[in-house]
Symmetry: C2
């Protein structure tokens, strides 16, 4: 881990999560939207927080996304109310009314101004929200909040929230990080829900980040945008973002540091902590991808430009034939070089090198005669890396991805019905 940053793993019995920073409370309750599981989460800052947000680029955007975008303009927030089990997408004016009603009721119960409440939904598209259950759930979630400064009870609330936002995720995703700024200990926390097999599909990605640092609003937005580009966008969520993808980041200043911005000497240290947090959550998302059994990093080197490196990395990381061969622990580098060839970049086939965990399988576009057993042993590991060298320039790009198993098909053949 980077120097000066202490990572605090999340979990039901460990404290790392959205309530690790001072002045945040959270809860997760079962409102009956999806049978008896937790399906509503609430995150509250004790004091007004600065908020930054990054949203799906899909042309079809769910009602809560539209509402969050609208409210983000003021850069101020106190609470986020979240439900899983229903995406409130393709629900028209009724959907907007329901999203507003969620924030209004939350604001009333917490005695906040309505525009300071944000809302996120994830689940099935095109069904009206069951507002009776949602409203009862909001009341439950407010009641379930631990009192401010409740310590362990507070941490449990964060873990409950991380569970409540799950859809096909098999485990909650949480992490916290600590970094010293102006002699103060600043804490950052985060939770996320995963996204189908991530790319090229569009099951929703939701990420919530908190910090007790005082941060200037525009700087916080820049920091978040960069962190998302280096993490969630490199697990390939961007090109095909869902109707609901949302990343929100609250900074409430409880650490009482001098407000951070680009000119602050510790700005880079703070951004590094944010990158560490989002990088770890991105990794947790890929590891828990639907049906995933392996985590694979695809690195393209010596590309003629960053965009070219990215195109090649995405083509390989998203190839269904490549992903299924990883599942089968099949050292089929032919599918990798084929994906390189169709990535839309003018590569020279006779210059391509391909290595697995540093072992060359292909040099100059041809197999080097590496024993299949060696390759097979690498691809059978739960984590490995593929390095592709194009010998065309100086740009590098890395994608983190997973394999595609029959479980993925089973999950997605019957998600709705």
């Amino acid at each position: 881990m980077r120097k000066g940053i202490t990572m605090v793993p999340g979990g039901v019995t460990t404290p790392g999560g959205i309530t690790s920073p001072r002045g945040f409370q959270a809860s997760g309750v079962a409102a009956g939207i999806k049978s008896d599981k937790r399906d509503m989460a609430l995150l509250v800052s004790d004091t007004p927080a600065v908020i930054a947000g990054v949203f799906t680029t899909n042309r079809v955007q769910a009602a809560p996304v539209l509402l969050c975008r609208e409210r983000l303009a003021a850069r101020q927030a106190r609470a986020i109310i979240i439900n899983s089990g229903n995406a409130n997408a393709c629900t028209g004016t009724d959907g907007m009314r329901d999203a507003r009603r969620m924030t209004q009721l939350t604001a009333d119960l917490l005695q906040l101004a309505e525009p300071a409440v944000f809302v996120c939904s994830t689940g099935t598209i095109g069904r009206p929200l069951p507002m009776d259950k949602i409203e009862a759930g909001i009341r439950l979630a407010v009641k379930a909040l631990a009192p401010a400064g409740a310590g362990a009870a507070n941490a449990a609330g964060g873990a409950d929230a991380a569970t409540a936002i799950m859809t096909t995720d098999t485990k909650p995703k949480q992490i916290a990080a600590e970094v010293e700024i102006d002699g103060k200990l600043v804490t950052l926390g985060g939770m996320a829900k995963g996204a189908g097999m991530i790319h090229p599909n569009m099951a929703t990605l939701l990420v919530f980040l908190t910090t007790d640092a005082a941060v200037e609003a525009v700087a916080l937005q820049d920091c978040l945008a960069t962190a998302v580009d280096r993490s969630f966008n490199r697990i390939s969520v961007d090109g095909d973002r869902s109707t609901n993808d949302t990343v929100l980041f609250l900074a409430n200043g409880a650490a009482q540091n001098a407000t951070l911005d680009r000119r602050h000497p510790r700005w880079k240290a703070f951004c590094a902590a944010v990158n560490a947090l989002t990088g770890e959550l991105a990794r947790q998302i890929v590891k828990d991808g639907e049906g995933a059994t392996k985590l694979v990093t695809v690195t393209v080197r010596s590309a003629p430009g960053k965009r070219a490196a990215e195109k090649v990395a995405r083509a390989v990381a998203n190839s269904l034939l490549v992903k299924t061969s990883w599942f089968g622990a099949d050292p089929n580098w032919g599918r990798v070089i084929c994906a390189v060839g169709y990535a839309g970049v003018p590569v020279n086939p006779d210059q391509i090198d391909i290595a697995y965990n540093g072992q060359f399988a292909v040099r100059g576009g041809q197999p080097v005669g590496l024993a299949p057993e060696i390759l097979h042993a690498i691809i059978a590991k739960p984590e490995f890396g593929i390095e592709i060298d194009l010998h065309l320039g100086r740009s590098t790009y890395t994608m983190t991805t997973c394999d595609c198993s029959d479980t993925y098909v089973h999950i997605n053949a019957s998600y709705m019905t």
Copy 2:
């Protein structure tokens, strides 16, 4: 079927195939490249034929593709030798030597000029061709040719060839068509091997077409390019073509019509017959896609341009979440509208209509409340159509695709090893 065109289905006992046109012979034999199955095919024209070809756009091209492209310049051919089980791709200068050797031996045995022999390979990438088996196979294939004008024996040769080019195909793909030109009966025949789940992947597509029509060379090339764009490219093979994709079309003039070109009054009728043939082969390929259980047409209407219509149709037809929901007979139109939203076209979500076999599920971006049982009954069919209306312009594009089943994953997790 189109007026004036008679389609002749293929099969082991029926005559429709590459040897239906006069003056073509074919054979298919087992050379031991893939255990005991037929794995080498030979197609011969009794007289010099004009040849047209369309090849993969992948930057990584197999040796036989490079050789065919080189020889196509002369627009003259007598024979095509084909093997399955090994793609002769990423095999460097040795691969080129082996591809040339295949054409040289075929030419010697048939007493032809070597440049008049073309070669295609399909199978695993990056392994040297087993030339001992290949050479023995070529000798077998030449011996197995029926004598010219052998009738039924000739048809059997065509069927054997269609079987020999298969890889993961479960059945051979053949068809013939007849059309009258200048008072002569002109026959066209074709065989194909399928391509994985087709798009977005790259298992090889090989298609061989024959006709006894006399056709001018450049006109034949134009006709083939258009036919491929309307058929195989709309089952989405183009953007991600394999290292070996090849479509070759031989016209030997045995029907003794006045040579066809753009100015001939029956040019359109001939091209219509070619389109009918390629359309039917494309359909057979999708129906036999790896693990496919359903054939689905995705039609985008009222798009702001042809490219926009195509982008939206491809996004839907290639979405793994959409494909797996079809496999589960899950009426999950939310995944369809989500794919429309990320296609990269500035759609207006509030104007999108989606219908299944003409039954509207979505109008103006919202569900119309169609009973799930009705949708389910449509999606449970082996063939159905999805129509997406963007209400933005006048362009239409249709893709033919299939679902994605767990069988697909099983096939591709262990294809090589």
